[in-house]
Symmetry: C2
């Protein structure tokens, strides 16, 4: 665990940039914790969507609210070809989206590499004295589900998850279909009724395939990116219900 | 408005049995209010499901919690061939279910009669000094939606609704299909993923047909009657969000 960036406290939340070294690579992340705290606490891992990053507005806002409202720790890492994993400039807005599509289609190691990165990140975070080995949740929509769902299936430490904006489709459809039934923790699954990227049937099929008996689907009108504030409130409530010590 | 039954206060909730006279018939209802209160307050109308009645456990529990937690008024009336509208004894548990199926199939006036009963009930309740003309919500699943959705479409006083466990199907399908797009208030729509009475496609089609831009679907695993406590909590929160003065 390295801390290459700034250590900033603002509005009751400490934000730190970290790198986890794994197999000769750096996994770049952001960590939000209560300032001046010590001892173990619940931790929520946040997976961002394609074309975003660990610094995406809704990722940062969710991380900060989990600290501010609940005293939890929260962390996000960049997905493949995103954020600080990008080579060169990130100034072209839709380029990571295009590049992710290419990697998703062509790199058969993508899912396992990201699962490994997430697990190494979780190991490193739980070794920090102000996080420790407490209950762990996962929150990730769209690409955050494409890469997060296999992580949850592989990782017994995760005891609650918010997933969605994704269906049984895409280049890794068979992997997602194989992993979804392995998920046993409580799940809140979010869907946008007019999602322009993933048709209703495949989204409903993924909800159906998730193995958890304790799961619920929340659907709202609107496009892929239009998840309303109501579901960020619902996410916080749902995570707290299952992570509060 | 007549008060034919007992007036009981228990655990902070006053319960009164009422009758509304309409076109030579009695509409039998139950009213829950804060005891010793006066002045206008939000009112929630609760429609029970087929084979139940205004005294069904979840109807009474919802009415009481809206009073206890929020200080609202709540009222339920018996549906056709249910509760105190039944002729003779109600001792055969599934008989009202069978009889409702018959009425639903054969009595073309059923929906309009119930809409009229609901509207007359609302008129009468709003004339009571401890209810008055405040914001009004509606909550009704299954038969409560079959008969409640047309009520909401007809009644501009209703500003928020919880509906569900029903689809674009059944003898009054065309009426429901015609009325759903007229609904404009915020809607929480509940669905049971393994509903043995109404298939997923027709339930999703009804959610789709509701005209409100502010609507959300919550789906849970389980059969028709297995709506979890979580959605009664969600109902209360949703009603309060839109009815609180």
């Amino acid at each position: 665990m390295r801390w290459p960036g700034e250590d900033v406290v603002a509005k009751g939340v400490r934000e730190r940039r970290f790198d986890v070294d794994r197999e000769g690579r750096h996994v770049p992340g952001l960590l939000w914790t209560p300032p001046d705290s010590d001892g173990s606490r619940p931790l929520v891992l946040i997976g961002h969507g394609a074309s975003g990053s660990k610094r995406e507005a809704y990722v940062v806002a969710l991380g900060r609210r989990l600290v501010r409202h609940l005293g939890y720790a929260a962390a996000a890492i960049d997905g493949p070809v995103h954020g600080d994993r990008r080579k060169g400039s990130g100034s072209v807005p839709n380029l990571p989206f295009l590049e992710f599509g290419q990697v998703w289609s062509s790199d058969a190691t993508m899912t396992d590499a990201m699962v490994g990165d997430w697990r190494a990140t979780l190991d490193a975070l739980q070794a920090e004295p102000d996080i420790g080995v407490g209950p762990v949740g996962f929150w990730g929509l769209s690409m955050g589900t494409i890469l997060g769902l296999p992580m949850i299936a592989a990782e017994p430490r995760i005891s609650v998850a918010v997933l969605g904006l994704m269906g049984l489709t895409g280049p890794t459809k068979s992997r997602i279909a194989a992993d979804a039934p392995k998920i046993r923790c409580p799940v809140l699954f979010l869907m946008q009724w007019h999602d322009e990227l993933f048709p209703r049937e495949v989204v409903l099929a993924l909800f159906d395939a998730i193995g958890s008996s304790d799961k619920r689907l929340h659907a709202h009108p609107g496009k892929h990116g239009d998840v309303p504030p109501e579901e960020f409130e619902a996410s916080e409530r749902f995570l707290a219900l299952h992570l509060d010590p």
